[in-house]
């Protein structure tokens, strides 16, 4: 699988350090499922994080004894099912699936990508809300082949990761694994490619700014 549009190194570092919020972390983690190259960068950044653990702060008196006393309570508890902590291979809190749903999404999509309950916006577009943290909204978007999402700008950042199908706008074509980042300076008009429906994971940090009257009203209605 060859991915052409990657998160920048800065986004990979935000993910590695834990500074990225959950929505951005989810879209980066999902990109990593498609992209060996970015996995390597994250692994290098994690190693840098480890090497930077150099400053020390003394523990409270008796801390080691307190922890040693708690070790026994773990004996016999079943940890064999737990997985490695680091980015790869990672650990998902969701139930493992074998249906092409990327693992970072497992704990957000009980029935996987094939079981998403879509809400229609007109005949060709649909969405499903995953979660919201403050002003950040995380959704799935689906466009039928050829669907036109309307010309829009952005009040904040819009990250879009293709999970299936693809779309094209003024900046290029995006296929599964490709990540697009739109800023307040970006105005674009994405159109779903022909072939299979386009399914995207979308993270927005502020409402979109639609330029036509009907899309603007529809955007307000559906909370975009």
């Amino acid at each position: 699988m060859s991915v052409r549009h990657h998160p920048g190194e800065e986004l990979l570092l935000d993910y590695t350090s834990g500074a990225a919020d959950e929505g951005v972390a989810l879209i980066v983690a999902t990109h990593l499922c498609f992209c060996t190259e970015c996995r390597r960068t994250v692994a290098l950044a994690e190693a840098a994080g480890g090497a930077l653990l150099q400053e020390t702060a003394p523990l409270a008196a008796g801390a080691l004894d307190a922890v040693l006393a708690r070790l026994d309570s773990f004996e016999g508890s079943d940890v064999r099912t737990e997985k490695w902590e680091s980015t790869f291979p990672g650990r998902s809190s969701g139930k493992p699936r074998n249906d092409g749903t990327p693992s970072p999404l497992w704990s957000y999509l009980e029935d996987g990508l094939s079981g998403v309950r879509w809400r229609g916006m007109g005949p060709n577009l649909a969405f499903a809300n995953l979660f919201r943290r403050g002003a950040t909204r995380v959704r799935l978007l689906k466009g039928m082949p050829g669907a036109d999402t309307g010309n829009h700008g952005h009040h904040g950042l819009e990250y879009t990761l293709v999970l299936a199908g693809g779309f094209t706008d003024e900046t290029g074509s995006y296929a599964p694994g490709d990540l697009q980042m739109a800023t307040p300076q970006t105005v674009h008009n994405p159109v779903a490619d022909l072939g299979e429906p386009c399914i995207n994971l979308s993270v927005t940090t502020a409402p979109l700014r639609f330029n036509g009257l009907v899309p603007r009203l529809a955007g307000k209605l559906f909370g975009f």
Binding site: G8, E9, E10, L13, D14, S17, G18, A19, E22, V24, A25, A29, T30, L32, C33, T36, E37, R39, R40, T41, A43, L44, E46, A47, A48, G49, G50, A51, L52, L53, Q54, E55, A57, P58, L59, A63, L64, V67, L68, R70, L71, F74, S77, V79, E82, K83, E85, S86, T87, F88, P89, G90, S92, P96, P102, S103, P104, W106, S107, R133
Partner: protein
């Protein structure tokens, strides 16, 4: 090499295989004060940092058998434990990540993904110390400010594009220093 030469890697192996408490105490002495300082630098109160540090060391005890020195240095693994616990227990968010059993991620995980930088962390630490100060600063702020890069640019009073290019240059230097041409 693959990390086998490292003292901490060997100690984790003794915890995993023999439930060796002396080995655990040595790991505690080394890593606990580092984790606590890391959490405090990221804004935790000393009391909270103390609690989460103890949890991190308990995690190390429980998960020692999952540590694979072919995949990461001990310090890298400990960093990821501390980072994930901080997100979980201090920020109360989930940490989305890939799963080892995800068939999507499986195919290309060959030897090329067994990284050149899976070595005791000395070499990487030396490479970090060699970074030009402006690049070292953005790397440091990435890990110890709890700010995404956009806020790091604000804090340093430099354009976002400058932060991005410094990070890119810094990562390229680390990659080269660790012998990864990719």
């Amino acid at each position: 090499m693959h990390g086998t030469g490292g003292e901490h890697e060997a100690l984790i192996a003794r915890v995993a295989q023999d439930r060796d408490r002396a080995a655990f105490a040595a790991l505690f002495d080394h890593f606990a004060p580092r984790i606590k300082a890391y959490l405090i630098r990221l804004g935790a109160t000393p009391g909270l940092a103390e609690d989460v540090t103890q949890e991190a060391l308990l995690s190390l005890w429980r998960k020692a058998h999952l540590f694979d020195p072919a995949k990461a240095a001990a310090a890298t693994w400990v960093f990821t434990i501390a980072r994930n616990l901080r997100i979980d227990q201090i920020r109360k968010e989930r940490r989305p990540q890939m799963d080892a059993d995800d068939p999507l991620c499986e195919e290309p995980r060959g030897p090329e993904e067994n990284l050149a930088w899976v070595q005791p962390e000395g070499r990487l630490r030396a490479a970090l110390a060699m970074l030009p100060p402006d690049q070292a600063r953005v790397i440091e702020l990435s890990f110890f400010s709890d700010c995404p890069h956009s806020e790091i640019a604000d804090r340093l009073g430099i354009p976002l594009g400058t932060v991005k290019s410094r990070l890119r240059l810094a990562m390229a230097r680390l990659r080269t220093a660790m012998g990864d041409g990719a």
